[in-house]
Structures are given as C-alpha cells and as structure tokens.
C-alpha cells in the first residue's frame, strides 16, 4: 500500500468511528426501549428529526449553538416521549388485539404524524445550521511536522463524537449506579420479579420511553451541525437504529455501542471505496449478515454460551 492509500484508509476508518459514535447514541435509545417494552419503536428517527428541528429553530431565531440546544431538546423530547408512552402506547399495550404487535404499528403512525407536522410547519425544504466552525479541522501535520501521511479531524464531528461519548457515559452511570437505573434494567430482565421488588413497572416504561426519546433527540442536535435537515429524514435513521439494535442483540446497550461503531465504519468504507450511493447498501449487507451469522447479536460472540438459556 502506498502512503496516499494508507492515508485514505485511515481517514475513512476515523470518519467511520466518529459517525459510529453518533449512531451508537441513536441505537442505544432504541435498544433501551426495546429492552424494557419489548417493542421496536419505529418512530425513533422521527423523534430525532424533532430534536433536530428544535436545534434548528433555536439556531435560526436565537442563534443558539446546536450543541447547547441539547439542553432544551433533550428535556423536550423526554416530555414528548413520556406523553407518547402514557397516552398512546400504554393504552394500546393493554388491549388484546388481533395483531399482537399492534404497538409497533402505532409507532409507525406516530412517526408519520410527526413527519407531516414538521412538513406543515417547516415545509419540505432542506435546512442547515451554518455554524462558523463547520469546516474547521485539526491536521496531523500540525502536531507532527514530519508525518509521512496526512489525516484530518473535523472539529464539529469530533465535538459531536465527544458529546455522544459523554451522554453515553452519563447513561452508563445512571443505569448502573442509581436505583432507578437498576429498576429500569430489572424491568427489562424480569417484569414480574421487578414488580415484587416494588418497582412501578408502568412508570419505568414511561421513563424509559422518555429517556430513549431524549437520547435520540440529543443525537439529533449532534447531527445537525454536520448534516442537513428535512421532515422525512427520520425514516433512514429509524432503519439505522433498527440495524444497530439487531446487530447489538435486542436490548443490549453495550451491543448497541459496538453495533453503532461497526455500522459507522462499514458505511464509511463503502462510501469511500464503492461510492456514496452504496452506503445504504453497505448498511443492509451488515443487517443481513447480522441476521444470518450472529442472530443473537454481536455481544453473543464475546459471552460464553450458557446452557438452557
């Protein structure tokens, strides 16, 4: 491999990891909801779209930096999630329907409604938040003058990645160390046993849906400085989150992180070496490969197989 080829490969992997960090954040939100409620939230990407529009409005009217708008978007999306779970999904969960997974279909409807509301308010034009640091980057040659290869690190991508990392870390602490976090995990693992321990399972579901929405809403704020925005953008991110959730093994947070990074790197490699248009194809190759070769999720490769489980 010649130096320029190495350069391209390293640059591609690096971009992929940065993208993967954001994907992980999207995936974690979906996997949390999956774990506790046993449903795939197909409005996930649309919730992210709502987060992005919040960041867009704050930027275009008050000139608030998209990264700061997380502080508004996350609580707003939390409340939206709580509302959706409490007044739409929960009542449907209680009904004995002909289709057992009718809540999933409900989430599709929620997604459509959100996308159409966005179209009514903002029209279907593409929007961006042109921040002045959008094209800033760090170069390897700045710190290592004689470096044989050149790699750049985009400032907004890096900041987004670090924010995603911080949010994931915060979530990690919440789920692992606080009683409420443990209660959420307990509900995902055994709902009836959690009830016996005094966990208000219904409340945990509401909180989890809110939390998952807040996470993906924050991901929206991290995406908007490096992406563009239109009302129908949700669908593609729902698919991304879905692929990550399958790849990670339904309901596993660590799996979602690993899945997000793998998907990010793989997409980045396909767009460099096969062309931008092939990136979604790469996503589905990964999806199919996961379904066929690691149906238990990527984490099952690392944990020892247990009998009877």
């Amino acid at each position: 491999m010649t130096a320029p080829q190495v350069e391209v490969l390293l640059q591609t992997i690096l971009s992929g990891l940065l993208l993967g960090g954001l994907y992980a954040l999207i995936g974690i939100g979906m996997t949390l909801i999956m774990g506790v409620m046993k449903i795939i939230n197909l409005a996930h990407g649309e919730l992210m779209m709502v987060g992005m529009y919040i960041a867009y409005v704050l930027f275009s009217t008050f000139h608030i930096d998209p990264y700061l708008s997380i502080l508004v978007a996350a609580p707003a999306l939390f409340l939206l999630g709580v509302f959706l779970q409490k007044f739409l999904i929960n009542p449907v969960m209680k009904v004995d329907a002909i289709i057992p997974e009718n809540q999933v279909i409900l989430t599709v409807g929620i997604g459509m409604v959100l996308a159409n509301i966005a179209t009514i308010i903002f029209s279907s034009d593409y929007k961006t938040t042109p921040v002045d640091y959008a094209t800033k980057a760090w170069y390897l040659s700045d710190i290592w003058k004689t470096s044989p290869i050149e790699i750049s690190l985009s400032l907004p991508w890096t900041v987004s990645f670090c924010c995603a990392l911080a949010i994931t870390g915060g979530l990690w602490f919440f789920l692992g160390k606080t009683d409420m976090g443990k209660s959420i995990r307990a509900t995902a693992q055994d709902k009836d046993a959690a009830l016996l321990m005094g966990v208000n399972v219904e409340k945990m579901r509401v909180v989890t849906f809110g939390l998952g929405s807040a996470l993906v809403g924050s991901a929206g704020c991290l995406f908007i400085p490096i992406y563009y925005l239109y009302p129908d953008l949700g669908g593609q991110f729902t698919l991304t989150a879905f692929v990550i959730t399958i790849l990670g093994g339904l309901g596993s947070t660590v799996g979602a992180i690993v899945g997000g990074l793998i998907l990010g790197v793989f997409e980045s490699l396909t767009s460099t070496y096969a062309g931008m248009g092939w990136a979604p194809v790469g996503r589905f190759v990964i999806f199919l490969a996961a379904l066929i070769f690691v149906p238990q999720g990527i984490m099952s490769l690392f944990t020892r197989k247990r009998f009877g489980k």
Partner: protein, 234 residues
C-alpha cells in the same frame, strides 16, 4: 397477620382457586402443600398482587391488600421469593440484593442488611460481583432468598425454595428458613417437598385442585393417612 377470606381466582374463563380461606399468625411457619397444579403458586401470586382475585379478601395486618398495586406491597412488609427464583440474571449478586431494598427503611439499612445476608450465605460474599445468571442453582436460590430479606419483611413467602436443588442444598435452604423464623419473621412456604416442609412448619394447609381439603399442625399432617399416601408415598 395474613388472612385470606373466601378467595376465588380465575385464569380467563377457568376458575382455578375455589373459595380458599386460611390465616397466618405472627411468628408462625405455615406451609401450603399440594401437588403440581393444585394452585399453590397462584395463591401466592394473588397475595402479592400479580394476579387479581375474582372475589374474596386478602388482609395483611388487618388491611385489605388485594386492591393495592403489586409494587406497593413490599413496603408493607410482605416479601415474595418467587418460584424458579426469578433473579435479574444479567445483574450482579449485589445488584440483585439492592433491588430488594429500593424503598423506605430497607433502603436506609441497605449496607447493614446486605452484611446480614452475607453472614447467612457466606458463599454469596465471595461472589458479590458475579453475574447472577452464572451462579449455580443453589447459589441462585440463596440470592433469591437474600433479595427477599433485603426488604426487611415481617412476612416472607417462599414459593418452592427446594425446586431443582440437590438434597444437601435443600437441607441448607430449610435450615436458613428456620433461622429466618428465629429472627422473628413470619414465614409462609409453598412446597412439593412435603416431608421436609411439614417438619419445619407449625401448621399446614393441604390444597387439592384449588380447594383447601385439610389443615392441621405439621406433625399431625405428617401422620395423617391421606397425606402419607398421597404426598409421602408411604
């Protein structure tokens, strides 16, 4: 302390519990014995609010609890160690124990009670950071009992604590139940392991196809012709 009055429970259209009444007094060890499918676990699940009764009353310390949400019961001092242990298998031993002490006094005394549980089951102290799903069956049962004790209950209900355990472990578990009783905790125990259960029980009720068919002291039932024939195979 616990009083069940004329309890009827249905699964869908099928009635499984027929007018069951019994009571447990403070400080007693009371057993509910019967064959597979007699409705023992259903009664425990109804007491702890996971299943709603079709009719009848459940009074705990004089208060009706069958109208309460299931998750509020542990705070009243009622702990349920469920059948097949039902641990949170992806959590550590310590986290499982923490889950037993989420509220009130139990939460304040978490560290202290945990030490007490570790004194009762020294093996768990060494395995406190281990994922519960990777423990042996006996150790898992210890965690399940420990988790029940973490709530500082005044009444603890065991559902088939000896299920699937080697005889030596069964004896250990029954010894622990005796110790728990010695601490002043009232015990209700549901079992198919009739002989050992009756040996540690003050009183027992025999359940057949959803009805209480017999009651008496542990000793008198052990000597009863019907019980010996049907449950002890003598």
């Amino acid at each position: 302390m616990l009083e069940i009055r004329n309890l009827n429970v249905n699964y869908g259209d099928v009635q499984v519990i027929w007018g069951v009444s019994f009571e447990i007094k403070k400080g007693e060890v009371v057993a509910l014995i019967g064959a597979n499918g007699a409705g023992k676990s259903t009664i425990l699940k109804t007491i702890s609010g996971i299943i709603r009764p079709a009719s009848g009353e459940i009074l705990f310390e004089g208060q009706p609890i069958h109208t309460h949400e299931a998750y509020t019961l542990i705070e009243t001092g009622l702990a349920h160690v469920p059948e097949a242990r039902r641990l949170f298998v992806e959590m550590t031993v310590e986290e499982n124990l923490d889950m037993g002490s989420l509220k009130g006094e139990a939460r304040k005394n978490r560290q202290k009670t945990r030490e007490m549980v570790f004194d009762l089951f020294p093996r768990l102290r060494d395995r406190r950071k281990q994922i519960a799903g990777t423990l042996s069956g006996g150790e898992q049962q210890m965690v399940a009992i420990g988790r029940g004790l973490m709530s500082l209950p005044s009444l603890i209900m065991f559902d088939e604590p000896s299920l699937g355990l080697a005889p030596i472990l069964v004896r250990e578990i029954f010894d622990v139940i005796k110790k728990i009783r010695g601490e002043g905790v009232t015990v209700m125990i549901v079992e198919q392991n009739v002989k050992q259960t009756l040996a540690i029980s003050d009183r027992a009720y025999v359940l057949e196809t959803g009805k209480v068919v017999m009651e008496g002291t542990g000793e008198s039932l052990l000597n009863d012709e019907h019980v010996r024939k049907a449950y002890l195979g003598v």
